[in-house]
Symmetry: C2
Subunit: 448 residues, 2 copies
């Protein structure tokens, strides 16, 4: 049943708290068993959690046999259980799977293919297993090469779960301890700040934090930003909004780290990388989630002198990072994303979804903002007052309502009032049709 | 050719620097291409690096067709390209591979099976992707639940590569920055400290560092130790050496974290877990490397109240940690290690290798110490002076000499003078025969 107001949100992924009265006895026992084995860090999505046992393309099937449309998972970017990726993985795993202390054809070939998609100045790659490790390494590199310690991130950023990375990930929740050399800037929110030069405003925010660090004797190591400001509420930061900020960061001697764990691999449409949309050249780019369609592969791409400087001092080794089998899967993902019309599909479907949702919502006459880039879409719900007071309750009702329609989405933002719509990149016309008809019904039912 | 003295060691894995005059033109070009793409953090093992293109069981085949015996890689614990693990992985990957925001049968079943192998007090598991992430999380948990910041590790510890973990991993090399709240204790070295009560001595070392932290107002969050002191030079710490230290740690309000990334999953023979050999009950145990035979799976096992306390405050989420496909592989590894005489094989082969190497070396009349537990074996080479001055040169010659015999081993320890012998757990009689005859020839040739 939808219409159930979520009692509370957590921040990493905004989740409704389970309502155990909604689930059958078997599911309840599984939730209890899981909780007893894994502990309370493990949260579940939706008032009525999903228990998928099979998946293919953009569809998942629940244990009950119900078919679900996946409009949320960015990780299986070329579709759940993609046969080409499965084959690349299992063929390589049957052949050999070792580590980078040996010469390996796969990691060299993949690094070459991956780097050929970047600006020529971004010509070195290091491989790790998770986006958290990638961001941790990028900031280690930044601190080592700049000799400075300060980090600036966005107000409600989430960059991962290592101790360092969580120290500049306020969205990790109230238990997250920020580092004393971390400063935060508000996201460039085009919905709530209309009519001002956002680029100039944002650069001034960054400069103010650089000045504050400097007043305490702390230099800037890096400014790190997620390419879609996803946990901040999904702000695509179009029109060169970040360009001036990048200049300010460089002038302070810091590095510009673009976290493309969310925005990379074609997610934002047309381009493979978010930085192309921004019109900036980052010093370091971090990659993750969709990189191997769900296998643990992540990386840092950067300019050679940074890695030269860091690597000469630190013999970084990652046992699994760069391993043949996961790299073979990653290479196949890159081939698919580049070869088969995926990028143009992302742009087309993204435009259609945003346009149609805007029409559906405007008919409902409610204060909303539909925004995003490619297939990373946010829909913000607020009350109809002049302050545009966030409305997480309606947002949660739409998330749970869509789930009852068999369509998976979630919510984001510091107030949990922004729908997060982020399907696999192979989301097609039929998927969009189904999504939109469900969305229209839910909007009508919830009374948005 | 062997007999080439390594010019320099690095610390994470002690490596000889490549001698490009030893490799053919194709290999040289590959090394150069790799270096241009990945940068200098990426080191290679052996004066003449290995370029394996196929592997099965305990054997690898080089691009030139040469067969190599693997006496080094602990990660493919049930053998390279193990068919049961490949099948478990690819079957699951074809079916579904998502994350722990959904109910998943695989992670619950595996957590149950894994925890049933631990002491009943160690009854919660969290899953991550790498040993680094596991140790990072364990120390985050320790700091959060104790409210204290101090960390004690061993003098030449290596626990991984995140910023936090490298801050208590001095073996990460001179570029590694230790945290100001980190203190180090020497390893319990049974070779250089004969005739003293090592347990009492070691506890006093730990107490001294606790006192030093306290004198600066820093309480102890955790004492973390690798279950075989591998980078410290492989000290098996038998006979309850750690028991008194554990008491001292608890009295100071700190947690005892046992890093079983190296020592877990039967590596030390007879038992599945190193702590059973130590006769202690750790608060947290971290797992990694062999957990899924080379796929990125790692974890933290601990007592429920610690995870309860941490999880209530921190909604930790790891995108790939606990994913169905890698977990299916891990579960199959656990089945194989438990079911098929692997543990007794480890004990038997380990005893035989140690005994035979001792005999071979004692005939050579050189000051050496052969030690270890199960199939984690160290052979220390020193000069024949009263100080037992470490002899990294001879050690490197033996490593490269074995490589020329087609047998892979490496070296460890702060001085790089301890052979590290750590084959897959399925190393059998024929493997041991081949290993020992090569070892005997190399010892004779090098003139140990």
């Amino acid at each position: 049943m939808s219409g159930q107001a979520p009692a509370r949100f957590d921040a990493v992924t905004v989740n409704s708290v389970q309502d155990l009265s909604l689930v059958d006895g078997g599911t309840r026992r599984m939730i209890e068993r899981r909780s007893a084995l894994l502990g309370p860090s493990y949260r579940l999505q939706y008032s009525r959690p999903v228990h998928p046992v099979r998946a293919k393309g953009t569809r998942l099937w629940d244990a009950s046999g119900e078919e679900l449309l996946d409009a949320y998972n960015n990780v299986p970017c070329v579709g759940h259980a993609n046969e080409r990726v499965v084959r690349a993985m299992s063929d390589q795993l049957s052949m050999i799977n070792t580590n980078t202390r040996y010469l390996q054809d796969e990691v060299v070939a993949y690094a070459e293919a991956l780097l050929s998609t970047f600006h020529p100045a971004l010509n070195r790659a290091m491989f790790v297993c998770t986006g958290s490790e990638a961001n941790d390494l990028a900031v280690r590199v930044a601190r080592q090469v700049t000799g400075q310690n300060g980090i600036i991130a966005s107000q409600f950023a989430y960059h991962g779960n290592t101790s360092l990375v969580s120290s500049f990930s306020p969205a990790g929740g109230p238990g997250t301890i920020l580092d004393r050399d971390v400063r935060l800037v508000p996201a460039p929110d085009s919905y709530r700040m209309r009519g001002i030069d956002l680029g100039e405003w944002f650069a001034a925010q960054v400069q103010a934090q650089i000045d504050d660090l400097a007043s305490r004797g702390v230099g800037l190591a890096a400014f790190i930003v997620d390419g879609v400001f996803s946990t901040d509420g999904i702000h695509p930061a179009d029109d060169g909004v970040l360009r001036r900020a990048a200049e300010v960061v460089r002038r302070a001697g810091g590095l510009f780290i673009l976290d493309e764990v969310q925005s990379g691999f074609g997610r934002t449409g047309d381009h493979l990388w978010g930085y192309e949309r921004f019109g900036i050249l980052p010093d370091l780019v971090t990659l993750g989630k969709p990189m191997a369609n769900g296998l643990p592969v992540a990386g840092v791409v950067g300019q050679w002198d940074l890695f030269e400087d860091f690597g000469a001092r630190v013999p970084y080794f990652n046992t699994f990072g760069g391993g043949n089998a996961c790299i073979a899967a990653a290479h196949e993902v890159l081939n698919i994303v580049q070869d088969s019309g995926v990028l143009s599909n992302v742009a087309t479907q993204g435009r259609r979804l945003r346009g149609e949702m805007e029409r559906i919502l405007s008919r409902a006459g409610r204060a909303t903002d539909v925004r995003g880039a490619g297939l990373y879409i946010g829909v913000e719900f607020s009350r109809s007052d002049p302050a545009l007071t966030p409305d997480p309750q309606v947002t949660g009702q739409v998330v749970d309502g869509m789930r009852e329609e068999g369509v998976l989405i979630s919510a984001a933002g510091p107030n949990g009032n922004v729908l997060k719509i982020r399907p696999p990149l192979v989301f097609d016309d039929a998927d969009a049709d189904r999504f939109l008809s469900s969305f229209e019904r839910v909007v009508r039912r919830v009374g948005v």
